[in-house]
Each structure stands twice: as structure tokens, then as C-alpha cells.
């Protein structure tokens, strides 16, 4: 049982604040991913949880015990660093056993734990090697092994895959996911890669400029982004965002004069909009090719066509704004081809222009 609770967590360097009051309640065995662009404060939060950074204000509690005033070693956490931080002068085995030795474990127990972790991570044959004799992926496993042998309350991962090449990154991602099912420990995982976040997380925390923009399951974050920032950050290619205006009674006027009538719940929310100026958002895959051009809400000409095999990405202009649509393969062949789309009102997003918040 290990819960992790952050309340009103703040961090500033002098007058410069990098984390502005983050609240987060991580349930036992939950896998939380902090995601955001570089400089958003995600690593700082992780390091505050680890005790490597001072907390300016707010608190961190593990299992209800406030650990603000607890040294890193006594917080019962384990951390996997971006560069793995394996001790270069020790063998894999010594690396994994290192912290246990300083925690007064019996030799036999250390041996047994290291062996178990090595078996679990499939690195049994490597235990006598030095870190520099390992490949990137193997080092990554050792780093995780070092965390696992500790059997901590909380696992912390600091962009653990960013030093690997693209192919290995995907493979390791899958492994972390698989490992997670065998060792279900409360985890906070930091990454700037939204795909990692989507695939690994139980819940995602999207951070920007030191504030949590949205906390939710991958589905929530993807389907109902709380702000234009989240909308643009999660998903590749990102959500199309157009400056638009509300023309009353649930209607939206897009650039180029197109009017779109939103129905039901959406339209009633629009009435509460603080301003008529909005961002209108639609994901590339939610631009549905219209069979009947006359009924299409968007009519345009393709500008760039990028066939990906499974899909074809098409760029086009709408009232001077560039948009991307994800279309079935071979549905569009060349630049200049005519395009026509309809949109399901449930799949479109409306954000306040000034605040960027979802309406």
C-alpha cells in the first residue's frame, strides 16, 4: 500500500517560479505519467518527490506521511535516471546490490533479491559486467533492476527512454509495461513523449509552465482535452486549432465563413462561454471525408499529401489556417485534389480564445 499525495506543491528559484502549486493524488499501484514540454517543471516535481530538490511550499506525502522533511534515503523510493546513473566502477551485480548493502540487508537476502530481479529482467548473464560493457537497453534494464531490488513504496522514472534510439525505445516501452504488470508499484514517470504517456499511464498529468493543465486517464486527456495546450500536445499530428467565433444558438463560425451547428450538450455549454472569440479544435482523424460534397462542412483543395501506408495525411488551407486530416489510404492522390469533410459535433472541441480553457 503506497499512496503518494502532492498538495499545493510549489518550487521557485528566487523570484522565478517553476512549479505553481500542483495537487496530485496517486493511488496505490497507480502508474502516473507526468508529461509536458521541456521546462514545464515535470522533472522538478519528480526530483522534489525524490527529495533531491527543496520544496518551496506545499507538501508531499507518501502513505500519508509527509516526507518534506525526510532525506531521500529515508523516503523509501527508487529512481531510474535519464542517464541510468549506474556506478561505472561497479559490476551490474554490485550496482544492484549497492543500496541494499547500505541498508543493512543480510548478504544472503541481497543475493537472493538481486538474482530475482536479474531473472525478472532477463539480465542474469550480465551480472558480472561493468556498465560500459552493456548496450543502452541493457543498461536501462540494470537501472530498473536496481530500483526493483529495493522493493520501494514508489518508483520514480525520469525520462528513462530518452537516451535510446527510436526502435529500442518502442521495445523498452513495451517491456516497462509488461514489467509493470509483474511489479505493480506506485509509479511516477516523467516523459516529454506523449506516446509513452498514452501507452504507459493509468493517469496522465499534462504540465505546462509549472501548472497541471489536466489530470486524467489517457482517454480523458485525449478525448476531452482541458485546454488548447493539452489538445495540441497530446496526439500526433496534433489537433487542428482554428480561430473561430460563436454566432449564437450553438453555432460556430469558422474562418472562410463555414458555419457549424453544434447540437445538444455542446451547444448549451457554448452559451456559458465568456466570450464569442474561441478556438475551434478538431483532430485530424475526426475530419470525415464527405460522400456528398454539398453536405460537407469543409471544402478545400489538398496542398500536401503524405501517404503513410495505413493512412494518408493531407494538409490543406481553410481561411488562411493550415489544417491536417487523416484520411483512408489512396483516398487522395496529389496536391490540388478536391477535399470535402464533415464533422461529428461530438468530436469537435471548443476553447475560450483568451484563456485557452475548454468550453
Amino acid at each position: 500500500m503506497a499512496r503518494l499525495t502532492l498538495s499545493a506543491l510549489r518550487k521557485s528559484y528566487g523570484a522565478h517560479a517553476v512549479v505553481h502549486g500542483v495537487d496530485l493524488d496517486v493511488a496505490d499501484r497507480e502508474f502516473i505519467v507526468l508529461v509536458g514540454p521541456s521546462g514545464c517543471g515535470k522533472s522538478t516535481i519528480l526530483r522534489m518527490i525524490a527529495g533531491l530538490e527543496e520544496i518551496t511550499s506545499g507538501s508531499i506525502a507518501i502513505d500519508g506521511r509527509v516526507v518534506n522533511e525526510v532525506d531521500p534515503k529515508d523516503r523509501d523510493i527508487a529512481m531510474v535516471f535519464q542517464d541510468y546513473a549506474l556506478y561505472p566502477h561497479m559490476t551490474v551485480e554490485q550496482n544492484m546490490a549497492f543500496s541494499l548493502r547500505y541498508r543493512g540487508f543480510a548478504k544472503a537476502e541481497i543475493r537472493q533479491r538481486v538474482a530475482a530481479a536479474a531473472r525478472m529482467l532477463d539480465i542474469e548473464t550480465l551480472v558480472a559486467r561493468l556498465p560500459r560493457q552493456l548496450s543502452g537497453g541493457q543498461r536501462q534494464r540494470v537501472a530498473m533492476g536496481r530500483a526493483i531490488v529495493r522493493d520501494p513504496k514508489v518508483f520514480l522514472f525520469d525520462e528513462p527512454l530518452s537516451n535510446l534510439d527510436a526502435k529500442l525505445r518502442v521495445a523498452m516501452r513495451t517491456e516497462i509495461k509488461a514489467l509493470r504488470q509483474r511489479v505493480p508499484v506506485t509509479t511516477v514517470y516523467v516523459t516529454h513523449d506523449q506516446v509513452e504517456a498514452m501507452t504507459l499511464a493509468d493517469r496522465i498529468v499534462v504540465l505546462d509552465k509549472g501548472t497541471a493543465q489536466q489530470i486524467g486517464t489517457p482517454e480523458e486527456v485525449y478525448e476531452t482535452p482541458a485546454s488548447t495546450f493539452v489538445a495540441a500536445f497530446m496526439g500526433a499530428p496534433p489537433m487542428n486549432l482554428l480561430p473561430a467565433s460563436l454566432s449564437g444558438e450553438g453555432a460556430v463560425e469558422l474562418p472562410g465563413g463555414t458555419r457549424l451547428q453544434l447540437s445538444g450538450a455542446s451547444s448549451s455549454r457554448l452559451d456559458r462561454a465568456p466570450s464569442r472569440e474561441i478556438w475551434f479544435g478538431v483532430r485530424p482523424e475526426h475530419l470525415v471525408p464527405a460522400r456528398d460534397t454539398s453536405k460537407a462542412e469543409i471544402v478545400a483543395k489538398a496542398r500536401v499529401v503524405e501517404p503513410l501506408g495505413s493512412d494518408t495525411m493531407v494538409q490543406f488551407d481553410l481561411g488562411g489556417v493550415a489544417l491536417i486530416a487523416r484520411m483512408p489510404p489512396k483516398s487522395v492522390r496529389a496536391p490540388g485534389d478536391p477535399l470535402a469533410f464533415t464533422m461529428d459535433p461530438h468530436d469537435v472541441h471548443v476553447f475560450d480564445r483568451a484563456s485557452g480553457r475548454r468550453i
Partner: protein
């Protein structure tokens, strides 16, 4: 392609080394011949080489005693340098109030020429009661600023995550220094050994001032004593230089092993 660049590099290095070695050759040649180095044209190959100069060096001064003195003083200096410099260098990688001042202080300490500090340094040593002792000989050399900065630079090149990992693993500062930082700073340790050894081994003016007792003198002082016997004949001087130089080279070669190990085993490479 790679091989050709290697050959080119070998050629360049060989040339540089040859240029570096010319004065050496002359030292060695003169040491075994006693030739007048001002003879013209210079004689490139030694004529009738002999080893009398080396024998003279051994017998005309209490070479063994001076050698032992030099070894003791240098060992003290080397030990002091490693421990004190590593500690200070590690401290300087930390952030603390007044760090800039301390760094500035250390740097400025370097900038006073020893020639200008002889008299006060002697008075200080007299006050401490360490005149004419091994400790007194080594004391001013026990910590050197250049070497502190060598350690500082080496520690800073060690990824911060290693220290943090160690902290999470439950190590205190002393253990981090000794178990993590020092083993990873072997090139810096080797540099410290080499430099502090050479500095104390070659120190001349300070031993000259602080020792009164002939039996406390170090090898460089022996040179002066020795030259009094042989009337500044250069062959003897060079023989002496060869004999004084040798330990420095041996220490370098031994410490250099650490460098090589650093290269081949990647001890410092993450």
C-alpha cells in the same frame, strides 16, 4: 582512411617528441662525457662516454640520505595533496553561501610568487616550531590550488545523477566522496600524485631557507653542495640532474597507469 590518418598522426607525434627530446639528449650526453658544451662545432655523439659523474654524485654528497629526505617529504606532500585537495575540490562542487569568495580566495592565493613570501613563510614556520623538520619542509606544499581545481573539474564532469542515485541509495557525503567520486576521479588522483610529487621533489628555495641541519637537506640542495666540489663542470651537473629526475619519471610512469586504465576500462565513463 583511418589507417592513413593514424600514420600521419604518428609522424606528427614523432616529430614533436623528437623536438622535445633534443635538450634531453644533450643532458644525457654531457652527463656521460664531461665535455665542454661551448665547444664549436658541437659534438653530436659522445666521445669516450663514462659513468664517473654518476659515481661522483653518489659519493661526494650523502646522496642516499638526501634521497631519503626527499622521498619522505614528497610522500607527506603527496598524501596531503590527495586528501586535502580532494576534500576541498569536492566542497567546491557544492553550492554554499560565500562559495564565490572562497574560490576567489583560493585563486588569489596562487597569485603570490613564493619569492615574495620567503621571509613571512619562514617566520610562520618558526612560530609553528617546524623549522628544520620534514613536516616543515612539506607544510606549504600540503595543499595546492591547481590540484584542488583539477579535482573540482573532475568531480564536476561526473554526472550529477550518480551523486543523486547514491544519495537515494542511502550514502552520506563522506561515503559519496570515497565510494563514488574518488573512484571515478582516478585521472585527477593520478595528476595530483604526479604534480605534487614533482613540486615537492624539485622544491629548492624553501628547503634551502628552512633547513639548517645538513642531514635534513633534500636532493636539490645536494646539487649546490655537489657543485661546490666539481667546480660547475657541466657534466657532473647533468649527471646529478639525471639522478634527481629519475624518480619523477618513475612516479609519472606509475601514476600514468591509472590514465591508461581509465582509457581501456572506461572506469570513468558512464
Amino acid at each position: 582512411m583511418r589507417r592513413r590518418s593514424h600514420i600521419l598522426r604518428h609522424l606528427v607525434m614523432a616529430l614533436v617528441c623528437a623536438l622535445m627530446l633534443i635538450p634531453f639528449y644533450w643532458v644525457a650526453k654531457t652527463a656521460v662525457t664531461n665535455e665542454n658544451i661551448y665547444a664549436y662545432p658541437p659534438r653530436i655523439l659522445p666521445l669516450k662516454p663514462h659513468l664517473y659523474n654518476f659515481v661522483d654524485v653518489w659519493y661526494l654528497i650523502p646522496f642516499a640520505r638526501y634521497f631519503a629526505n626527499s622521498v619522505i617529504v614528497s610522500l607527506i606532500a603527496v598524501a596531503g595533496n590527495i586528501v586535502f585537495n580532494a576534500a576541498a575540490g569536492y566542497a567546491l562542487t557544492k553550492n554554499f553561501a560565500g562559495k564565490r569568495i572562497v574560490v576567489l580566495l583560493f585563486l588569489s592565493c596562487m597569485l603570490i610568487p613564493f619569492q615574495a613570501t620567503i621571509i613571512p613563510a619562514y617566520l610562520v614556520s618558526a612560530r609553528l616550531g617546524v623549522l628544520n623538520s620534514y613536516l616543515g619542509l612539506a607544510l606549504p606544499l600540503l595543499s595546492t590550488i591547481v590540484c584542488i581545481f583539477v579535482f573540482k573539474a573532475a568531480f564536476e564532469a561526473i554526472p550529477a545523477s550518480l551523486q543523486q542515485a547514491a544519495r537515494i541509495d542511502g550514502l552520506g557525503e563522506l561515503r559519496i566522496l570515497f565510494r563514488i567520486m574518488l573512484p571515478l576521479a582516478k585521472p585527477a588522483i593520478a595528476t595530483n600524485i604526479i604534480l605534487s610529487f614533482i613540486w615537492s621533489w624539485n622544491a629548492f628555495l624553501w628547503p634551502l631557507i628552512i633547513t639548517r641541519d645538513v642531514t635534513m637537506q633534500t636532493l636539490p640542495l645536494g646539487l649546490a653542495r655537489f657543485l661546490a666540489y666539481v667546480e660547475d663542470t657541466t657534466g657532473a651537473l647533468y649527471a646529478f640532474v639525471c639522478m634527481v629526475l629519475l624518480p619523477g619519471i618513475i612516479v609519472f610512469l606509475m601514476a600514468q597507469k591509472e590514465f591508461i586504465r581509465g582509457l581501456t576500462s572506461g572506469a570513468t565513463k558512464g
